[in-house]
């Protein structure tokens, strides 16, 4: 990366920033509470990886039954059906709703699987596995953090459908057990991503010899 040689990490300059409020202290304050927000100061979260792997594992464990058990039970006058996530998407495709089927497949299969892979890769990359540049890994991390929450959409759809489609004998929809395990899987994966200390990504880079911290870049925003 062309930008990297401008920066010096706070840690090698003998400083640390509070993870919660951003106040800057000398490195010797590590372990003390922040004078501004009371959060315990630490330059790096040393137990970050343990927490990431623990949440990641329960997340994966919940994702398996989420795909095997039914998400929705639909009853109409003529028939009753129980659909898993994938079966529901395939049924939509048969109706010709390719767009919605794609949204559901991406949100409940594509994104969760990609997320598990990305979190695992990021955690391993801190140990020196993989060759992606830190800037790219940082972007990957931000993407995982941003997109993770959107997987909840499937759970909300089940909630809406179950509340809405209660038409006596004509049609009714109720939630299946996969709604719970899927929600848990999304929540645990979000916690895994949040536990990851992204500053560790940059530690593999090393610092340039530099005496003073530079100014940050000033950019004009497009909007006033």
């Amino acid at each position: 990366m062309t930008h990297s040689h401008h920066a010096i990490s706070a840690r090698s300059a003998g400083h640390l920033a509070c993870e919660r409020c951003g106040a800057v202290f000398p490195l010797s304050q590590e372990g003390q509470p922040c004078t501004r927000c009371d959060h315990n100061l630490r330059s790096r979260d040393m137990r970050s990886m343990q927490k990431v792997w623990a949440w990641w594992l329960v997340g994966v464990m919940c994702y398996i039954p989420a795909n095997l058990e039914p998400m929705l039970r639909t009853r109409t006058l003529v028939h009753t059906s129980e659909d898993t996530i994938v079966a529901g998407a395939i049924a939509l495709m048969h109706h010709g709703d390719y767009g919605v089927a794609a949204i559901i497949l991406i949100a409940s299969v594509g994104i969760p699987v990609a997320k598990f892979a990305a979190v695992a890769y990021l955690a391993l990359s801190v140990r020196g596995v993989g060759k992606m540049a830190p800037g790219r890994r940082q972007h990957l991390y931000e993407l995982v953090e941003y997109i993770g929450r959107w997987s909840m959409i499937d759970v909300f759809v089940v909630a809406i459908l179950s509340a809405l489609v209660q038409l006596n004998v004509a049609a009714s929809i109720s939630p299946g057990p996969a709604a719970l395990t899927f929600a848990l899987s999304v929540i645990f994966t979000m916690l895994a991503a949040q536990s990851f200390d992204s500053r560790l990504i940059w530690d593999t880079l090393g610092d340039d010899v530099q005496n003073d911290a530079p100014d940050a870049d000033l950019q004009k925003k497009e909007r006033p």
């Binding site: 993770g148 959409i153 909300f156 809406i160 809405l164």
Partner: protein, 207 residues
Amino acid sequence: MTDNATNGQMIVCPHCDALYRVRMPEFGERAVCKRCHTVLIAPRAHAMIRIVALSVTNLILVIAALFLPFLQISRAGFSNATSLMDAVLAFATGPLFVLSLAVGALIVVVPMLRMLLSIYVLAPMAFDRKPLPASKRAFRLFEALKPWSMAEIFVLGCGVALVKVSALAQVHLGSAFWMMCVLVVVVLLQDNMMCRWSIWNALERRK
């Protein structure tokens, strides 16, 4: 928030731990980390009063959307309307009631709590008063809850549900649906206003 006292102070990128000296950006400008491009400082004119105003708007929208119908359905003479409250209570019976609590928290309680917290923290400062007691703790909670506020995801969920049901019965959008759409835009505007570095500094300075 453009006083020169902050110039020369140190700032650390929360994502990559790069250390910088603060050079306070003008309104509309922003300071960006050179190495990972995270926005460090982005001051906006009259940000506090604007954020408070948007929070009040949001609260009104959520409370109204809670009880008004957002989707209506009819088939073979039977019809049904759903409010946000009904969606929350969809799992209330049976073994999935935990999910009811979670859905209620994610789409109603957490968004409302965040709005109340932001008003509590920022309203006094917007009117040049001292922050109220425990403001820092309140702002901390406000930030921690951010990823768990999922009203906008719920709105997109409504869209998906709409298409799924259309094969089964006739569906109409209710007034609450449009309110939730406005809410999504308001939340985005508000996030765009929020500069956490400036707010933490203001909390510290006006103690």
